[in-house]
Symmetry: D2
Subunit: 319 residues, 4 copies
Amino acid sequence: MLEKRQEGEAASQEIRTDLALEMRERFADDNVEVKGVVLEEEFREEGKLRISTVIIRDKQGAEAMKKPEGTYITVEAAELFSGGEAAQRLAGMEIGRQLKRLCGEKKIRRLLVAGLGNREVTPDSLGPLVIDHLLITRHLVREYGEGFLRRQLNRELDTEVELSAVAPGVMAQTGMEALEILKGIVRETKPDLVLVVDALAARSVERLNTTVQLTDTGICPGAGIGNNRRAINKESLGCPVIALGVPTVVDAVTIVMDSMEMLLKTQGYTGHEIGVFLSGIETLRSVDTMFVTPKSIDEEIRDMGRTISEAVNYCFFEI
Amino acid sequence: MLEKRQEGEAASQEIRTDLALEMRERFADDNVEVKGVVLEEEFREEGKLRISTVIIRDKQGAEAMKKPEGTYITVEAAELFSGGEAAQRLAGMEIGRQLKRLCGEKKIRRLLVAGLGNREVTPDSLGPLVIDHLLITRHLVREYGEGFLRRQLNRELDTEVELSAVAPGVMAQTGMEALEILKGIVRETKPDLVLVVDALAARSVERLNTTVQLTDTGICPGAGIGNNRRAINKESLGCPVIALGVPTVVDAVTIVMDSMEMLLKTQGYTGHEIGVFLSGIETLRSVDTMFVTPKSIDEEIRDMGRTISEAVNYCFFEI
Amino acid sequence: MLEKRQEGEAASQEIRTDLALEMRERFADDNVEVKGVVLEEEFREEGKLRISTVIIRDKQGAEAMKKPEGTYITVEAAELFSGGEAAQRLAGMEIGRQLKRLCGEKKIRRLLVAGLGNREVTPDSLGPLVIDHLLITRHLVREYGEGFLRRQLNRELDTEVELSAVAPGVMAQTGMEALEILKGIVRETKPDLVLVVDALAARSVERLNTTVQLTDTGICPGAGIGNNRRAINKESLGCPVIALGVPTVVDAVTIVMDSMEMLLKTQGYTGHEIGVFLSGIETLRSVDTMFVTPKSIDEEIRDMGRTISEAVNYCFFEI
Amino acid sequence: MLEKRQEGEAASQEIRTDLALEMRERFADDNVEVKGVVLEEEFREEGKLRISTVIIRDKQGAEAMKKPEGTYITVEAAELFSGGEAAQRLAGMEIGRQLKRLCGEKKIRRLLVAGLGNREVTPDSLGPLVIDHLLITRHLVREYGEGFLRRQLNRELDTEVELSAVAPGVMAQTGMEALEILKGIVRETKPDLVLVVDALAARSVERLNTTVQLTDTGICPGAGIGNNRRAINKESLGCPVIALGVPTVVDAVTIVMDSMEMLLKTQGYTGHEIGVFLSGIETLRSVDTMFVTPKSIDEEIRDMGRTISEAVNYCFFEI
């Protein structure tokens, strides 16, 4: 839900990003070792996929990273969602495999997928679009009973997953927090796992539409930037939560700030001097309601939605 | 939710309609007096609006009408949603007034509007479209407190209504019954009233897009035709429910059956003979998955959505 | 363009259909031999595809069939557009093959595809949807020259087809006949062939979304039913025209009339008596602005658009 | 057509903007008098509308401004398209009046409106959206003859304008330049005037969705930046052309460059030094396919389309 997180952001000049990896890389740039944080990397030649796993192990790591303890997996590729059908199939399968890895040993029988975001705002419509392509099975399994999916899909399935899905909309559309709607549905339908899909804001344009982040910590919008929207996680929902996100926008302010900072660093300015410069720029105020997004976002977001649906279908139904 | 109700309907030749008024008129044709059922009619010259109120008073009435006890109000006009801006404003205000009448003395402070149906199926998209145009206030009233709406709307409001809204989708999209989703949200947000908006199936094409039905009995899809989809009403939701519906389709089977019956009656055939004829027609099987809808439905449904939103806004915010 | 053809149709009770095959079958029912008309049929086990070719050879045939001389090919299957990905691929390839057959020996170098119909009216949006998925090459071939497509597609192509495409809209949207717009574009860009794609009206519901008709006679809306919309064909456009159409609606009047007629015939009534009955039915007037369409049309029309695009891409680019 | 103009722009650091006013203001900043260029300004208290007229009088002015000779009118307001219904009505009427002023004495009887841009790319969909709301009259006036509009609109009209409209799509969709399609249609239907509506790229974010530019010079995409897309004007179309444009995006590169330049100027750097800094920034390459757009663009573009339609309807039909 892009709108929600962006309120009041212009004022702050701290490092802000929804991606744990970006946060980790920031430290890497400064050659700082981060205690309590583990980073693993893997590269798959087929599909040119880079898989990074950031594990925040303890409180110290969480504080440094300004993110809750847990596992954060990113799957990246330059053409993750734009490399044609075969490439997208590969990407979908890899995302599905990482999703399975995050699920761990738990046997998921009842899965609720929540597609967050606003269907009417193009770069924020990822969640609702993913919902459109899922294999919805809960009502069928409940009506036709055990064995139905195996017969339908003609496959040796481990479990007959009852998949349900909902696009709860954003607060401006519903007057309710997504958390409230999901809490009600969870209490009513008692899923074993909630998978939350959402569009994210990234820090750098290179990440846009090229990165998927999966985490077992849920979604914690605005943590550390003073935004008190409540987190959607195991604690608040009362059931395990995995969050899957794709960065689709960069704040215009962020991109301008970053470019300037880079320029000033090259010129040998100190951090303090840079801060003074940046804070003085009046013009940025108007940029506050702007975002930067790829020119082809309308088309790409649809492909993204389809690929992530396939990842979910692959993970839970082996199709 | 048009899809749900239509399963298995072809087999039955009973009178089936979502409109209490159509049911009542059926008896009127046969000059039968219906005990336990009261019918009142009113005509407004301005806007050429016909307002009919059917009250089902007791069990006997409910059995005869095959509908639960309660009040059913219809607002009708030949150009209810297609008479231009001024006419639609009139229609919206009248629907709003009837909605207020149904609410009665209860002071509504927390209202949840549920837009049922499938946004992706044109004649079934009424509910979601209505949601798009409502004045959503719950999050604002809760954030900015008492008096916020009065200041914002610059009006002497009786209550500061906290309006929230949701489009729960249909079972094929979510794997859950709308009832399950709404139950969860109701438990979580505790509204004083749930207003359910839905597209209906009518019995005659003259009703299409020209009639609105409001009822305090909730929505009872498939009652009496063996469809066991659970009702959305005070009993099932645990909070008062008003349902607002507009017929947007007629089953193709219904329209053919009706036309034939009329023809055969004119020719003096008996009810039994007619039944025999009708049951013999093989070709109708393929019609089962078809519906009849106005050629201009794509455009009309949008106007309808806007007018009904205005009715709700008028009823609760006097705008 | 469904709207245009339907004006004034209710008055006439002649046999009206956009499909030559339906016209031909009508005679077949009556065991009448039609001079000047040849019918060939073929069945492909793979994909369960029935391919029928009606050739209207001379003036006598044209008069009997109420259609211009030329070749009419239909490709039919119960699940032509709804049998899943593999089935649709097969269907697309077969339609592509038949399209190639109609093109004959002529070497097409410059192809203009015109997607007729109204994008905003679901069952009439086929033409515009097909356009969305075509491989548009004209600007690329002209910019990057001979050999570009071979390199891009990595294929031994016979010709480097310059494909251009346009969705001219309907008269209510543009104030112009599609013919006027196409004439201008043809004069300006001089294509070797115009392929016109359009949604059609069928006579029987079994045809809906299960049949594709291809013809080298162009499109002749309303011919024989007094509708003077001008034909889009070789004569009017000044360049060869192939029309590809899929029936997506049946007029509500047609379906009622047909069902009744069938009933009355079974009862032994004469044609004259039947005519008298039918003409007397007042109620049908209101049905005049209604159409019958499958409940799943919103979804099916998208699949249809994609499959027909693939057929065109397969025919001209062997992909 | 936003896509087309943006190719190859990143390389150049010249001042580039579709708005004559922005170009003029640039000189104003430098206190340079521009020969051959006249600037007039007007302010309307009602609606807070600022109307600026830039007239490029001769070759010298054209060279300085890098725009063809002619009149450029901008209508600006902070809430031009977002101030609610009444404000938008005022804005529409003012734009309509300025459009009338540009038309001058010529009596327009046949008007063709061309909505350029890509309906599927949100900030580029302005042209097609405007088309959707116009009063299309050409086919009606031609069918029902002189006096039809006066009767229909119940108004003393000066002329019965035959308004036709087309959304020709962008080259990636059609394989043809908009100019080619329009030339064909103009030749076929012989309008007295072509009104071209398009989304523009601005230089500063303050202009986004707050400015309308009207000009009698047509549209000259990429002039001066080496983009050889052909102009749509009187010369190329063979009939007078008025272009109406609204800036909806700023190139991400532009916004970063501008912010940096401003910063460096404040620091006292020379133009040469600034140029060296800017050219060195590698990271901007990836920004090349990005644009900056308001967060609410999906909603705003629809309001914009409606307001501009109203302006056109007001100008030509006095409604």
